[in-house]
């Protein structure tokens, strides 16, 4: 008696069944792609309608921009991923953020010699606004953060470090680990930090504190002040604000010296 499934005939039949299954599989994908194409066209129309009514709102209202971005993120869509995306083309969000990216890069490059590539979000905001000029549209700090997050794709070493309620923006590929970040946060209060302060607040040994400070010096993020009263002060130029350092002329500087 023949066992079922064995024999040339059964094998051929199996092959035929597989082929038919594959064919149907291909048709299924084709169907779905066609469906997606159609839905995409419909979506484009919906987006166009939305844009015609609310494009200005997005342009002018930074809170609305935040809501828009958050909603996109929730559903798994990145409206800024590509300039060729619908969102960018129709709502104009792309150009706004990509141009901001260029301006951020330029400001960071211009100030790098002074602060070693570390700048507060506030100062970056001020400088970018200055560069944009009177007739350009206002930007919020949230806008800057989003633009910077996108810039990370360029492998530039852009980083966002939270310190005391605000952020420090890093624009050079300097290695900054947790220890360095914590010391930066400590320095935020006075604009400088000392070995004793680190030991007292963070409970570190002298050697660990010294290593971190040396690294910041090497990277050009900190300046060494050996003339400070008591012990050496390590200043972070990134944290200088107008209130601490007013622009004084050479004569004024000479006058204040004994």
């Amino acid at each position: 008696m023949h066992r079922r499934g064995v024999g040339a005939g059964a094998i051929a039949k199996k092959k035929l069944a597989e082929a038919k299954y594959k064919e149907r599989g291909t048709v299924l994908a084709e169907d779905q792609l066609a469906q997606m194409s159609k839905q995409l066209d419909m979506f484009k129309t919906n987006l166009e309608e939305f844009a015609s009514k609310h494009k200005q709102e997005i342009r002018k209202n930074p809170e609305f921009r935040v809501q828009f971005q958050d909603m996109c993120a929730t559903i798994g869509v990145d409206p800024l991923a590509s300039g060729k995306g619908f969102w960018s083309e129709m709502l104009g969000v792309g150009d706004f953020y990509y141009e901001l990216g260029v301006q951020i890069i330029e400001v960071c490059l211009a100030l790098k010699h002074r602060n070693g590539g570390l700048i507060t979000l506030e100062e970056l905001h001020q400088q970018v606004l200055k560069g944009r000029g009177k007739f350009a549209q206002d930007v919020s700090q949230d806008d800057l953060i989003r633009a910077i997050k996108k810039l990370k794709a360029l492998g530039t070493g852009f980083g966002i470090i939270p310190v005391g309620g605000t952020y420090l923006i890093q624009s050079v590929p300097a290695e900054l680990n947790m220890d360095h970040t914590v010391v930066l946060q400590l320095a935020e209060k006075n604009g400088y930090v000392t070995v004793s302060e680190i030991k007292a607040c963070l409970k570190w040994e002298t050697e660990r504190a010294r290593q971190v400070l040396e690294h910041l010096l090497k990277e050009g993020l900190a300046w060494l002040d050996l003339q400070a009263p008591g012990e050496a002060h390590y200043w972070l130029p990134a944290l200088f604000t107008d209130l601490y350092s007013q622009e004084i002329t050479a004569e004024e500087a000479r006058e204040t010296l004994p």
Binding site: Q32, M36, Q39, L40, K53, H54, N61, I75, D138, Q141
Partner: protein, 386 residues
């Protein structure tokens, strides 16, 4: 305008700076006055204005003096403004720029922008009223806000009603925009679900899907801004768009690269290309994805990633390893060089100069001297002199 008092501009103990903005002009009511260019500072206790040119001209208002604030949008030739409505000045107020004023409000005009952020922070401070919890010297505590029995400033009721109406109108616009946005997002979410289901099909069939279909699918993902569910990268190995872009870049960047010694960082390329375009700018990811295809398309440029993560575009004809030999010569001539010194000598960006020196070190031609005075490179005599 008679509510301001002269001040040194220094913060008191327990008074913290919240935000500051340059380029602010003050109006007394609707009138322009001589304080037309200064820095406006917001602290937890006061609003301070300091003249740009004459830092001695510095005045402040305690936040407790503020009744409420409104925004005034920018117009053609007009900067955005914040209107600040004030209580009447208390009798024991310290001297200020104006003895009297017929206006119970001032306007702050943001000629160098920054109005959005400033308004947000000022609103926050007005809500939190931190000055009430954190006492500072008496001179700042001139007004504790509306007290029972105080006569309210004239016209406040009318102003508040107008503000309420404006808020309702704005709310209506916003809520309509939000409603439309929510509806749109629901549709967008459907697209995301559909793309996931197609991606699953692709995974199951494991290569039975045609090349053509893959390309179509990727371009749909590109339009919607959906990450490729199969590879998790945005657009995986690129779409038609990126291929086109790669060819365009090869054309645009040939000359700039030659002018810069055959190599440019991706950041420089991003700025160069987008500045030239003016509009329809490239996203950072567009640029990276296009550059990833340069080599595959046999174009005369290529993308290179250094160990540090720095990404550059090089001409195919550029041989960084050969440049290392000339770098060694330069360093030997000078004895030793830092990245900055080398960059200046050769006419390169410091970033790329550093990469070249690091590569030379990796290849064994240079040694480093790493100290707090900086990173300095020397010819590697261990190799050359036995």
């Amino acid at each position: 305008m008679d509510r301001f008092v002269w001040t040194s501009g220094l913060l008191e103990i327990n008074e913290t700076l919240v935000i500051q903005q340059r380029g602010v002009r003050i109006y007394d009511g609707e009138e322009k006055i001589k304080f037309d260019a200064g820095t406006l500072l917001l602290s937890t206790h006061r609003l301070i204005w300091r003249d740009h040119k004459n830092h001695e001209c510095c005045m402040a208002i305690p936040l407790s003096q503020i009744v409420f604030i409104e925004e005034q949008a920018a117009g053609i030739g007009k900067s955005a403004k914040i209107v600040v409505h004030l209580h009447t000045a208390p009798p024991n107020k310290e001297p200020g720029p104006f003895q009297s004023s017929k206006n119970s409000y001032i306007k702050l005009s943001f000629k160098e922008h920054g109005q959005i952020e400033f308004y947000r922070r000022l609103s926050e401070e007005m809500t939190q009223r931190r000055w009430e919890n954190v006492p500072v010297s008496q001179s700042l505590q001139t007004n504790r806000g509306p007290q029972p029995g105080r006569i309210r400033a004239v016209g406040i009721v009318g102003i508040e009603r107008k503000l309420e109406e404006k808020r309702k109108e704005t709310d209506k616009n916003i809520s309509e925009a939000f409603e439309d946005l929510s509806k749109l997002m629901i549709k967008a979410k459907e697209m995301v679900e559909l793309s996931k289901s197609i991606a699953n099909k692709i995974k199951d069939k494991q290569g039975d899907i045609t090349e053509d279909e893959t390309i179509r699918f990727k371009s749909y993902l590109l339009s919607m801004g959906i990450a490729n569910p199969v590879t998790r990268e945005t657009y995986g190995s690129g779409t038609q768009y990126h291929m086109q872009l790669a060819r365009q870049l090869a054309g645009i960047l040939q000359v700039p690269l030659e002018e810069r010694g055959g190599i440019m960082s991706l950041t420089e390329v991003y700025c160069l290309v987008n500045r030239a375009r003016g509009m329809e700018l490239l996203s950072p990811e567009d640029l990276v994805n296009a550059c990833k295809m340069l080599e595959a398309l046999k174009l005369p440029l290529r993308l290179r990633v250094f160990d540090s993560g720095v990404m550059v575009i090089e001409l195919q004809s550029h041989k960084e390893e050969e440049m290392v030999a000339s770098a060694l010569e330069t360093v030997s001539e000078k004895g030793s060089l830092t990245s900055e010194e080398f960059a200046k000598l050769v006419g390169m960006s410091v970033l790329l100069a550093k990469e070249r020196l690091l590569l030379a070190e990796k290849m064994g031609h240079l040694c480093r001297d790493d100290s707090v005075e900086g990173l300095r490179f020397y010819p590697n005599l261990f190799m050359t002199q036995s």
